[in-house]
């Protein structure tokens, strides 16, 4: 009898934690990759170039190995996401990486993905653990001291994610006294503090989004690209306000001073922006949030 009661209590606790952890439901990838009859925009396919000539030691090494090592994030839905069950990667950043890889002569099957969190990026690139990195990587002068950037391929800015029926939060100025959630210790806090909201911090954005869905916080703030990904995942329940108040240029990070590879990646981004692949990739990922595609940014070649 005693053991049975203990067991029942244990089951309750497990049920409680299970409800808490169900934020991973409706994982992206499965629904939008197969465009079979659904109205969802299809992902573009890229023609793999043969006979690519780029004078880069990194690329020559990749050719010899037959594999391109690309660093990415794995926890941002519709941006840089890895489905842990199938190992499939999906999202806007992943599409950018695939179109660049195609122009460098690698099929999607020849890409070896490597998940790297923000603090590991510069060391991994300089040590040659990856050939290049695509994952919400903001171009700034501090980072340019240790790595080079191709692009930018996307201009992001800090924005607000709110419930779709929210009409009171229209921009940062309307945040006074509102409950705003973001990642622990992130730079987003400093930018939002001057609008005097109440700030809640969790380890992950998915925890913040969970609290937004349950109505305990009024808004989630970080780069709009990340927010659009969550809005897509939970469409049509959430929306991005669309009043970015900072500017972040996302670039492809690669080994410092590998000018040949940097130009080749910039050329690839430019080509796919011009032929419409960029917009198609956006529409099939972040565009699902309802936010229309912005103009692709002008490249910064240096």
């Amino acid at each position: 009898m005693r053991t049975r009661r203990t067991f029942a209590v244990a089951l309750c606790a497990i049920a409680l934690t299970a409800t808490a952890a169900c934020g991973k439901d409706g994982t992206p990838g499965a629904s939008n990759t197969s465009a079979g009859g659904s109205a969802a925009p299809a992902l573009p396919t890229y023609t793999v170039k043969t006979d690519v000539k780029v004078d880069s030691a990194v690329l020559a090494e990749a050719k010899k190995r037959g594999q391109l090592l690309i660093g990415a994030k794995s926890d941002q839905p519709f941006l840089g996401w890895e489905d842990l069950a199938s190992g499939d990667r999906s999202g806007f950043d992943i599409e950018i990486a695939k179109m660049v890889a195609a122009d460098l002569g690698f099929t999607p099957q020849q890409i070896k993905w490597q998940t790297l969190v923000s603090s590991q990026r510069e060391p991994a690139i300089s040590k040659g653990q990856i050939d290049f990195y695509v994952g919400t990587y903001s171009i700034n002068d501090e980072r340019k001291k240790s790595v080079s950037f191709a692009g930018p391929y996307y201009v992001a800015g800090q924005d607000l994610l709110v419930k779709a029926d929210n009409t009171t939060i229209t921009g940062p100025d309307s945040l006074n006294g509102k409950n705003v959630c973001t990642a622990t210790g992130s730079t987003s806090i400093k930018n939002i503090e001057k609008y005097s909201p109440k700030i809640t911090q969790f380890d992950t954005y998915s925890a913040c989004v969970e609290k937004l869905m349950s109505g305990e916080v009024d808004a989630v703030t970080t780069d709009d690209a990340i927010l659009k990904g969550y809005a897509s995942k939970y469409a049509p329940k959430l929306k991005v306000v669309g009043q970015p108040f900072t500017k972040e240029n996302y670039g492809v990070g690669l080994n410092k001073d590998d000018k040949a590879l940097r130009d080749a990646i910039s050329d690839a981004i430019k080509a796919h922006q011009d032929n419409g692949d960029w917009k198609k990739a956006y529409d099939a990922t972040l565009g699902l949030s309802g936010a229309v595609a912005p103009q692709p940014p002008a490249l910064d070649r240096y």
């Binding site: 244990a10 606790a13 622990t184 210790g185 809640t200 349950s214």
Partner: protein, 216 residues
């Protein structure tokens, strides 16, 4: 190493340090009270209370602390329980540590010869009086050493609260890392802060031991 004294970083570090102390102190208090109560439950003659004590220890001692924090922070609000994040953290950390305190105290209770309890009961003391006036004082003295380990672990476990919206030392460390200071310097100062707290707790227990040790 000098980054701590630039750009108002020290204020952030100090606030984190004080928050860690506040969280640890509140959790320790909850753990001590709840743990003692649970230990009393576990040795009580009432089967329901014994089962409750055993159940509590089984669940809370065997669940990772992070999972407990998740359960409290994300499981309670949908049930209509709304507290500040600090209170949630105290609940999670206190309930978890209480399970350990309970087991430590119970081991102490078992060292007190059964004859003492029998003697107390035959003199007409109730179960509560026997426990609080005869058995627990001796038990508590015996278990000071393992108890100090539990309470040294507590401030260090409190770092998990940083991931659940309590601005303590861990979240100060996250902020410093995000601002791009050297990882080594950040961890050096954070480790120092934890060392100060742990050393203070250890000293306190050493003092208690010297005053209260049982001569056998």
């Amino acid at each position: 190493m000098g980054f701590l004294f630039e750009d108002g970083n020290f204020a952030l570090f100090r606030d984190g340090f004080l928050q860690t102390i506040e969280l640890s102190a509140l959790s320790a208090l909850l753990a001590l009270l709840l743990g003692t109560l649970l230990a009393a439950f576990r040795v009580s003659p009432v089967p329901v209370l014994r089962a409750f004590g055993t159940g509590w220890v089984t669940i809370f001692r065997n669940t990772p602390l992070t999972v407990l924090f998740f359960a409290v922070t994300f499981g309670l609000p949908p049930l209509g329980v709304h507290f500040s994040h600090l209170v949630f953290a105290v609940l999670a950390l206190g309930s978890y540590t209480a399970a350990f305190v309970c087991e430590v105290l119970r081991s102490g209770i078992n060292t007190v010869p059964i004859g003492q309890a029998e003697a107390a009961r035959s003199l007409g003391l109730t179960f509560g009086q026997t426990l609080t006036q005869v058995v627990l004082p001796q038990a508590a003295r015996t278990v000071l050493a393992p108890m100090s380990s539990v309470f040294i672990a507590l401030p260090r476990n409190s770092a998990i609260a940083g991931a659940f919206s309590v601005s303590e030392l861990y979240s100060a460390q996250q902020t410093f890392s995000e601002r791009g200071y050297s990882i080594f310097a950040i961890f050096f100062w954070v480790a120092c802060a934890y060392l100060v707290i742990s050393a203070t707790v250890a000293l306190l227990f050493r003092f208690l031991e010297s005053r209260l040790a049982v001569a056998r």
